[in-house]
């Protein structure tokens, strides 16, 4: 296990004051904070070797190209992918999913086909499929949830078992409930129907050891800003044979091989899908984020979060009038605790906690259909990462007590 105190020293923002209090950052499912090593990597690029990649014959361009392409290799290893050319850079998870919807979807989904999702998808793994289904006259079908916010596997078998199932798109870890989904099992069900599988891994890759080979999916999407990296870098991993067969997503420079007035031939993988100058500085800094996580060890990251989540769940049970969403056991969930407390509206809670310097998320978490199923307008959500501590969980509890006082409820006993 790593030393959280030492880890915290690498994150300058954690010593910042908010409303006179030291920041307690518990909104990691939205975006993580960045260590100094990542921040420095960005300025180092701009100070020392800023150049466009893949085209210059000068030293700066060569250095930048090597640094950029090295990150692709690191990512492939980090997610257990065999081929480096199966890693494609996008802006974020959302763009990676849209890439598949546009490029693979519009050429493979036929009228009457079924696209299977779950009832706990983020809007980014729902709306692109709604758009595709409308465009292709296909249907969406949903795997329902159990009462404690896990995938109902009977429902999964039934829905995926339809002969029209062509594509299954499931999140690995729910941003709203914290639930870790049995994606390998889902992929196996999908495969027995000959369906293609996309995993929205935005919440899982930053927090769990992940292997695309173990999951045996066709596509996996995630982004770096939730895993210590800068904003603006997403990844689509895809099986090379699928990516090869797909038409380009965006057209422009870098994605071409040769261009005439009336036509063009396209570059090989992965550049076929990377039109235009990419986010070079932030990709390079993302490589440093991977180094940082690998130094800690993803098994340790997971163990740290299980410990914190167990501690927090136990603390929450000392509160009266609290509803926790998602699985009761910390081992079935990531470091995400979604709750409602003392009938205080989540927005009021978020505002009052902010007075104590505590940052949580309040609202629908980009999961409006799930909130409707839960019959709530929203939830408050505390989410942990490598730098969070039990002391911070205690501060959260104290601030909740304060919120209860401000709002005039008596929920504590």
């Amino acid at each position: 296990m790593f030393d959280t105190k030492k880890v915290r020293e690498d994150f300058p923002i954690l010593s910042r004051k908010v409303n006179g209090q030291t920041l307690v950052y518990l909104d990691n499912a939205a975006t993580s904070q960045k260590p100094i090593q990542v921040i420095d990597a960005i300025s180092q690029y701009y100070k020392e070797y800023n150049a466009n990649i893949h085209r210059g014959l000068h030293t700066l361009s060569e250095e930048a190209t090597i640094a950029y392409e090295d990150v692709r290799e690191k990512i492939a290893k980090f997610i257990g992918a065999r081929e480096t050319n199966s890693v494609i850079f996008t802006r974020n998870t959302t763009e990676a999913i849209n890439l598949v919807a546009h490029s693979w979807g519009r050429h493979n989904i036929l009228p009457g086909d079924q696209i299977v999702l779950s009832a706990m998808e983020h809007h980014s793994n729902l709306v692109p499929w709604q758009m595709l289904a409308k465009d292709r006259q296909a249907n969406l079908a949903f795997i329902e949830l159990t009462a404690d916010g896990q995938l109902d596997m009977e429902s999964a078998k039934k829905v995926i078992g339809s002969p029209r199932t062509k594509l299954v798109c499931i999140n690995h870890m729910s941003n709203a409930l914290g639930t870790i989904n049995p994606v390998a099992e889902i992929a196996k069900l999908a495969r027995s129907q000959g369906a293609t599988v996309l995993i929205d891994a935005a919440q899982s890759v930053p927090h769990l050891p992940t292997s695309v080979q173990e999951i045996d999916c066709d596509f996996l999407a995630f982004s770096f800003h939730k895993m210590l990296g800068p904003t603006g870098v997403g990844v689509l991993w895809g099986k090379p044979e699928l990516l090869e067969a797909m038409p380009p997503f965006l057209g422009g420079g870098d994605m071409i091989s040769a261009v005439w007035r009336d036509r063009a031939t396209y570059n090989e993988l992965p550049w076929k899908f990377e039109a235009g100058t990419p986010n070079i500085a932030d990709v390079i800094a993302s490589g440093v984020a991977i180094d940082y996580l690998q130094n800690l060890g993803m098994e340790n990251v997971r163990a740290h979060e299980i410990e914190l989540t167990e501690y927090a769940l136990k603390k929450f049970t000392t509160l009266n009038d609290v509803v926790i969403y998602g699985p009761p056991n910390a081992k079935d969930r990531g470091g995400v605790i979604s709750f409602n407390f003392a009938q205080v509206h989540p927005h009021d809670l978020g505002q009052i906690l902010n007075e104590s310097g505590i940052a949580i998320r309040a609202g629908h978490h980009c999961c409006q259909p799930l909130m409707r199923d839960l019959n709530v307008s929203g939830t408050a959500r505390a989410s942990f990462y490598i730098y969070n501590t039990k002391e911070e969980v205690d501060l959260l509890m104290a601030a909740l007590e304060e919120a209860n006082k401000v709002m005039g409820h008596v929920a504590f006993r």
Binding site: V344, H347, D348, I352, Q368, V406
Partner: protein
């Protein structure tokens, strides 16, 4: 000034815990449902208008403290008022919430609005306070021309996002 002095003032908490004019009217002149889809706040207003006067108003909603208190205070202030007076109050409240920098003068008979001045310091909450008032404005507009209508509209506080007139009965 602490948050409780600023935002969660006593009057606001009183209206939040004991919202006035809660309920429904069976056959209102107009029923308007205002929704802010971004935060999930919902307000349904039932309004009876006779001889250009708001005879009765009932409010039914699901939202945060600011939203609930603002709707409660509003319902108290407009009940029994002429449509014209109510419309002026809406304009006054909106300018109070949306005018940057200056405190808007509140006439004595509307002093209950005063407690919502503090919301201005928290820009993300302004839309919460505005939803009931935007919903009322929509209702009064509809009541003038199409009595018996049920209107559903969506707003993010600044702009109307969508609008459906559901039926004529």
């Amino acid at each position: 000034m602490s948050l409780s002095d600023d935002l969660y003032r006593e009057t606001i908490l009183d209206h939040y815990h004991h919202p006035r004019n809660q309920g429904v009217i069976e056959h209102p002149t107009v029923k308007v449902e205002g929704v802010n889809p971004l935060c999930g706040d919902e307000v349904t207003l039932y309004i009876n208008v006779n001889n250009k006067t708001i005879d009765d108003v009932k409010i039914h909603g699901k939202g945060c403290s600011i939203n609930t208190a603002s709707g409660s205070i509003m319902s108290d202030l407009i009940k029994g008022k002429s449509v014209e007076e109510a419309s002026k109050t809406i304009e006054l409240f909106k300018s109070m919430m949306l005018t940057k920098g200056v405190e808007v003068e509140i006439p004595e008979e509307l002093e209950d609005l005063e407690c919502l001045q503090g919301v201005k310091k928290y820009p993300v909450r302004i839309k919460c306070a505005l939803l009931p008032w935007n919903t009322l404005a929509e209702g009064l507009k509809t009541a003038e021309t199409k009595a018996g209508q049920f209107v559903h509209f969506e707003t993010n506080g600044d702009h109307e996002l969508g609008r459906v007139v559901v039926n004529g009965g």
